[in-house]
Symmetry: C2
Subunit: 203 residues, 2 copies
């Protein structure tokens, strides 16, 4: 008997099976109309076991979000020595945009499910706050820690993430076919130069 079927291996398999079956069901019949029991049957486990792998139904959809945020924080660190906070964040976002475009199909699949349920939509926003926090930290590290600077860091991070969210939701709406990277650069440029101007003439 080979050691290959060790406990962790098996657990990972079950986990993947739950996710795969759940996504299939969500796509076919909608998130709300899929019961945990159905998922359990499809994944050949008991409903009780489902809750040993995921704390709730919605968390089947967000298993990788923490990893994404960690990755983003890592990128911010990598670009930390760039000329300005704005450059650091821009470069990290550029990097993420490329990766998102490379895995567009998978992102689109998840986003279709999330977009079809108010519950999931609301949950997904909660994750965005962590991105915002990561961006704010860049500004906080770049300037002396005064209340005014910290406030500014929060405004700036909020504005960037607000724009990025608007950006990505349009990208998703268009089936991830547009050039996210280009849109992102336009957006960051807009934020850097100020949003008050008149766009006529250019573009």
């Amino acid at each position: 008997m080979p050691n290959s079927n060790t406990r962790e291996n098996k657990k990972a398999q079950v986990r993947e099976r739950i996710i795969a079956q759940a996504l299939k069901l969500f796509e076919r019949q909608g998130y709300e109309r899929t019961t945990i029991n159905e998922i359990a049957v499809a994944a050949k486990i008991s409903t009780r076991t489902f809750f040993r792998y995921f704390p709730s139904k919605d968390m089947v959809i967000f298993p990788t979000h923490d990893a994404y945020i960690a990755h983003f924080r890592h990128l911010l660190k990598h670009y930390a020595n760039d000329s300005s906070p704005m450059e650091t964040v821009s470069n990290a976002l550029r990097h993420m945009a490329k990766e998102y475009m490379a895995a567009a199909d998978e992102h689109l699949r998840y986003q279709r499910i999330i977009g079809s349920s108010d519950t999931l939509l609301a949950r997904s926003v909660a994750f965005d706050w962590q991105w915002e926090e990561a961006i704010a930290d860049v500004w906080k590290r770049a300037y002396p820690r005064t209340p005014a600077h910290d406030r500014r860091a929060a405004y700036v991070a909020g504005a960037i993430m607000g724009a990025v969210n608007a950006l990505t939701s349009m990208w998703y709406a268009g089936g991830c076919r547009q050039n996210l990277l280009k849109w992102g650069e336009t957006t960051m440029e807009l934020l850097a130069k100020g949003i008050g101007g008149d766009p006529s003439g250019k573009k």
Copy 2:
């Protein structure tokens, strides 16, 4: 027999009673640990009747949000003839900031409850999208309807709402004691001039 105690009147009374009792319970023992049954008992109705007044537990907290958004849209219309979209939105937000400060206690009360529950926190963000949409509409109306302009409208609205959210959440965190209006003006100025600059020297 006076028309005063008509059906609608009675319904409104029950509705207010539910809200008042629910808020009291939420504050005392937390949102999650308060059951609908407890609310029903406190409001002297059956649990079934609760759901005739509110579609779900969380909607007891957001009964006025739609009204706020309608009010905001009205203000945007009122300032629509200002020199630029940015001015229109700034003025409307200034107006809202003053009103928020005037009713700080009530806002703080609600925010305390919302902030204590992930569910409510996630839900409240869903309402913000409507504000964002209203802002985007101002830009869309101001410029010819091309995809590029519409995208720009979405970025700008996202950035403004992102910054405003960061702003208000700090205001709430500080117990609504700071000058929201002043913070708001600083923020809008920052967005207008561009967030890429170096804040050193000023402030």
